[in-house]
């Protein structure tokens, strides 16, 4: 599948909508209700330019003024205080779409795209990592507007496949991403919770903020199948199992529930944000809910 729909007008319309909502919420987030722990930290000097009216006085480089007796403003490469890493799971299991839903990967892609769009508008820098068993592509965070296209193109060209091996990838990334930021994990998290939580711990240890977007298909949450079904593993071609799913439903749902509960509890312990998203959940609503939960925490 190529998620070519990313740029179709309908979806972009959705993004515009998203942007509006995002901006509204995000402005509040930037303008104080949200206390950024990264304030001034991520400022990288780019160049000096002459002060003009309207520039903030606090950005005047007093050292230069002392030398040159002129007001210069220090230009920063990215005028942001947030570096966001979107870690989009591109493993095979993300391909699952259900009957008339979009696939989890597509959903995650939209989500990533929306967030990217929103954050770049806020001059935050956004990076993207796609991975399955290993990191497929690492796009470092940038806040340039045209970075959006880089990320969008990357998302569009990514084809999910391969096994999930999140913990190792996360450990690797935790090592690789030196600068603190916001780590957004978009995945179905169909892995053992313990190693995964260990990896999240690693991020936390590196002082990253961690947000888990747990994307699941409604089918995976209700297991509505009837009659004999052969389930083929999306990650491993030759792994298949023939069962009468109605017999296994209760047990399956118990296990899913336990898995989710464990993730949730683990995230709570790690003070990582855990957001459940079914592929039916509207993106805007999902984002808003996340953002409100963030603001609600009073950080």
């Amino acid at each position: 599948m190529t998620d070519a729909g990313l740029f179709d007008p309908k979806v972009l319309g959705k993004f515009a909508n998203l942007e509006l909502i995002g901006r509204q919420v995000f402005e509040g987030f930037i303008s104080g209700r949200h206390k950024s722990p990264f304030k001034g930290f991520s400022v990288e000097f780019a160049e000096h330019r002459q002060y003009t009216r309207g520039d903030e006085i606090r950005y005047i480089d007093w050292h230069t003024y002392a030398k040159t007796d002129r007001y210069y403003i220090k230009e920063y490469e990215e005028e942001t205080n947030l570096r966001c890493y979107i870690l989009l799971d591109a493993s095979g299991s993300m391909k699952y779409a259900g009957r008339d839903e979009m696939s989890k990967f597509r959903y995650g892609s939209f989500l990533a795209a929306g967030m990217t769009y929103m954050m770049l508008h806020q001059q935050d820098s956004v990076g993207l990592v796609t991975y399955d068993t290993k990191v497929r592509r690492y796009i470092p965070p940038r806040s340039r507007p045209n970075h959006l296209h880089v990320i969008m193109k990357e998302i569009e060209e990514t084809e999910p496949g391969g096994e999930s091996e999140l913990a190792d990838v996360y450990h690797e990334l935790a090592e690789r991403v030196k600068r603190r930021g916001l780590v957004v994990l978009i995945s179905d998290f169909f892995v053992d919770p313990a190693p995964l939580l260990g990896a999240l711990q690693h991020f936390r240890h590196r002082k990253h903020e961690v947000v888990l977007f747990h994307v699941m298909s409604p089918d995976e949450l209700t297991f509505p199948f009837q009659g004999w079904v052969e389930f083929r593993n999306l990650e491993l071609g030759d792994d298949r199992i023939k069962i009468d799913p109605s017999r296994l439903r209760a047990e399956y749902l118990e296990r899913v529930k336990a898995h989710i509960a464990e993730l949730k509890r683990g995230c709570g312990n790690l003070r990582a944000d855990y957001v459940q998203l079914s592929t039916k959940t509207p993106f805007d609503y999902a984002l808003a809910r996340y953002l409100s939960s963030r603001t609600g925490r009073g950080r």
């Binding site: 095979g92 299991s93 993300m94 391909k95 699952y96 989890k104 179905d188 169909f190 892995v191 747990h214 699941m216 298909s217 409604p218 995976e220 949450l221 209700t222 297991f223 509505p224 199948f225 009659g227 004999w228 079904v229 052969e230 389930f231 083929r232 593993n233 999306l234 990650e235 792994d239 199992i241 023939k242 069962i243 009468d244 109605s246 017999r247 296994l248 439903r249 209760a250 047990e251 399956y252 749902l253 296990r255 899913v256 529930k257 898995h259 989710i260 957001v275 459940q276 998203l277 079914s278 039916k280 959940t281 609503y285 999902a286 809910r289």
Partner: protein, 733 residues
């Protein structure tokens, strides 16, 4: 294990339905590319085996359900569950027909059959009951009930013998079924031991076998029917006395009677007796040599005999004993009633002092040429007819009687209808119109044919008419048909009444014609009696018939013929009731019948159609039945003795056997098994049936399985828990 309704077993195919559904279900799985495999696998690992077991358990239950239901519907029989279950009622039917007397060496077929029956008895277990039936026209059991006493059965068997009767498979089976109905045991077995003679099996009579099948279906336990056909060892040599015949039924003491005995070779090889003997009332046998008769051939041996005493007599013919293989058909019987007198009333319409002018003069002379002749004519005038007691006469002759009163006409009609005879010989005094009006009555009256005006000139005596004598078959004309011996051809008839030829089917027929084709002698059956009518008078007026020697013969033959319906029947076809008619004056209150083989049967006297009769319904045994009862006086020595005979059915001498196709038909219809080998019968009997239907148990099992299936399905499906809620997740709608 057998099945009463094996066709239902086709239903076993249905047992594959659950399996097919199961396999199709497994085969027609939907393919889902699935991400959350880990949860599924964990579940599968723990539960898959159990699910599989549940699945297979249900599959097994459903398949078993169908199999057991089909088995129940096919009504299986289970054998030899235990000794008690194998108890049986065994009926041995011994073919007791005449053909079983066939001898090959020292033993007859019946002896061999009896030996086989003994062997069969020895195969029985103490818990088995047994009955032996001698299969004849009226099959009789040797012991009245099924017996557990082997010695008693063996003794009865030793006394059993073949009979002159024929075997009747249907009656024998019917009798066997009647005995089995009283049986106590859960299995029934019928063994028929026969020579396999075709006669008596009615293989083409589907109604009889349908009856058998219906009777069999009504039995509490369906019997297994086996037939042991004793094989003959070679071609059969047998001469049979198939028939004794008298030329006419009226026999008097007045003259010789010609008796013919037919000897037929019914075997496949020629040979046998060289003489046939002939005896009346069993006395003074006379021998006559026999020519060689080839297979299928026959010869007629004539005897002449004059009976000296009136009353009941019998003739017995015998072939030389021990000359052929079936002895019982070497005898034949014939019963007859010899008349003391045959009173005939001659009504003379031409009363005249001159004897030669009377219409009955020549007839009277011809009928009673000497006083000892059995025919006793009495001549009356037409007026005398009214006062005559007709019951004293057997035949009335109306000779040229011009007219009859209505009363006389009615009396005569009753007289004929009661079985007597009337001879009408119209002459010059008779007006055809008057006769047609009073006696023809458009075919309803006494006249056999409508009278038309007379033709010819009796006075001129020119152009005489002659009788047409070729092709005469009528009983009255047998002796006159041979032109060498008969002078009937010389008869000249100058004038005669034209008689309208009777229509076919009218009950009337032309007996003798003139050469011109006009009827001369016509007859009519009326009630039990007969009417004969000539076209010319039996006097000298219109013909010279009275001058012919044949006239005497013809007169007698006509009178005998007219009198014969009331001659008592003494020869009874096998199976027809023997009816003894008693005189009103007889003082007897019962009639004793001595049966052909042995024993005396006392019959009550009853009244049928106003007559006193005693009836013996069972005349299946061939041979002589000697009937005695008290006569008119109260003197105990005044006994009336009458002989009745039932002969071997000629078909019984036909030794041809049941064909293979006939056996196949019998196998199919009532479900018989045919054996020719005692060893196989023995094996079959020893193995026994011990069969028991157990469909009820299967039906119960079906219900149990059904309940279990429903319960298990419910239980398993509850675990499927379609009502289990999905996982609450995020903002699921």
């Amino acid at each position: 294990m057998g099945f009463l309704n094996a066709a239902m077993l086709i239903g076993l195919v249905a047992a594959s339905i659950p399996i097919i559904i199961h396999l199709l279900n497994r085969r027609r799985y939907r393919v889902v590319d699935w991400g959350a495999m880990r949860f599924l696998k964990l579940s599968v690992v723990t539960r898959h085996r159990r699910l599989r077991i549940e699945e297979l358990l249900l599959l097994f239950l459903r398949t078993a359900l169908i199999v057991i239901l089909v088995l129940a519907l096919s009504r299986p029989l289970i054998k030899g569950l235990s000794a008690a279950d194998a108890r049986r009622d065994v009926i041995i039917v011994l073919d007791g027909s005449m053909s079983m007397s066939l001898r090959e060496g020292p033993a007859s077929l019946f002896d061999r059959a009896r030996d086989a029956a003994r062997e069969a008895l020895h195969t029985l277990r103490p818990a088995d009951s047994v009955g032996v039936i001698i299969g004849t026209r009226s099959p009789r059991p040797l012991l009245p009930e099924l017996s557990y006493d082997r010695d008693k059965v063996e003794k009865a068997l030793a006394r059993a013998h073949e009979s002159l009767s024929s075997f009747d498979a249907v009656k024998a089976l019917d009798r066997a079924f009647a005995m089995l109905r009283k049986g106590q045991n859960p299995n029934a077995e019928i063994l028929i031991i026969t020579d396999g003679q075709r006669y008596g099996w009615y293989t083409t009579d589907s109604n009889r076998w349908r009856y058998v099948a219906e009777q069999m279906a009504d039995l509490p336990h369906k019997p297994r029917i086996s037939v042991l056909c004793l094989e003959r060892q070679g071609a059969v040599t047998d001469l049979a006395l198939s028939d004794i015949a008298l030329r006419r039924t009226v026999v008097g003491t007045d003259r010789d009677v010609r008796v013919t005995v037919t000897v037929r070779s019914v075997g496949q090889a020629s040979g046998g007796a060289e003489h046939v003997s002939f005896a009346v009332d069993g006395k003074n046998p006379r021998l006559s040599g026999l020519e060689h008769i080839g297979p299928g051939g026959a010869t007629v041996v004539p005897f002449l005999h004059r009976f000296t005493t009136p009353g009941s007599h019998f003739i017995v013919a015998d072939l030389d004993r021990d000359k052929d293989q079936i002895a019982l058909d070497d005898h034949a019987w014939f019963g007859l009633e010899v008349l003391d007198s045959l009173p005939v009333l001659l009504v003379d319409g031409a009363a005249s002092p001159m004897a030669s002018e009377r219409a009955t003069a020549f007839l009277e002379a011809a009928l009673a040429p000497t006083p000892q002749y059995v025919v006793r004519p009495t001549v009356v005038s037409p007026a005398g007819l009214s006062s005559a007691d007709l019951s004293r006469f057997r035949v009335v002759v109306l000779a040229d009687v011009a007219d009859l009163g209505a009363a006389d006409e009615a009396r005569l009609e009753d007289f004929v209808r009661a079985g007597n005879g009337l001879l009408i010989a119209p002459g010059a005094r008779v007006k055809p119109e008057a006769y047609n009006a009073s006696l023809w009555k458009e075919g309803e009256g006494l006249l056999p044919a409508q009278m038309l005006p007379a033709t010819g000139d009796a006075a001129a005596r020119e152009k005489p008419f002659a009788l047409h004598l070729s092709g005469l078959t009528h009983e009255t004309l047998q002796l006159l048909a041979d032109p060498d011996k008969s002078d009937l051809a010389d008869t000249q008839i100058w004038r005669y009444f034209k008689l309208a030829a009777p229509a076919a089917g009218s009950g009337s027929a032309t007996v003798l014609r003139l050469t011109g084709g006009d009827p001369f002698l016509v007859e009519k059956d009326l009630g039990r009696g007969r009417v004969l009518m000539t076209a010319a008078p039996l006097d000298a007026s219109w013909s010279n018939l009275f001058m012919r020697t044949s006239f005497v013969v013809l007169s007698h033959e006509m009178i005998y013929y007219l009198a014969s319906p009331l001659i008592p029947a003494r020869n009874i076809p096998a199976g027809e009731p023997l009816v003894v008619s008693l005189d009103e004056s007889a003082t007897a209150t019962a009639v004793d019948v001595m049966l052909p083989m042995a024993g005396v049967r006392t019959l009550p006297i009853e009244r049928r159609d106003g007559k006193r009769v005693a009836v013996l319904a069972d005349t299946n045994e061939g041979g002589l039945y000697e009937v005695t009862y008290k006569g008119r006086s109260s003197d105990p020595r005044d006994l009336v003795k009458e002989y009745y005979v039932v002969n071997v059915e000629p078909e019984e001498s036909d030794t041809s056997l049941l064909t293979d196709s006939a056996r196949d038909a019998l196998r199919g219809r009532p479900g018989m098994a045919f054996y020719t080998d005692w060893a196989r019968v023995e094996a079959m009997l020893t193995a026994g049936q011990g069969t028991r239907e157990f469909w009820r148990w299967l039906a119960v099992l079906t219900v149990i399985l059904l309940i279990v299936e429903v319960a298990l399905t419910r239980m398993f499906s509850r675990r499927r828990a379609s009502e289990v809620q999905g996982v609450q997740f995020g903002v699921n709608q």
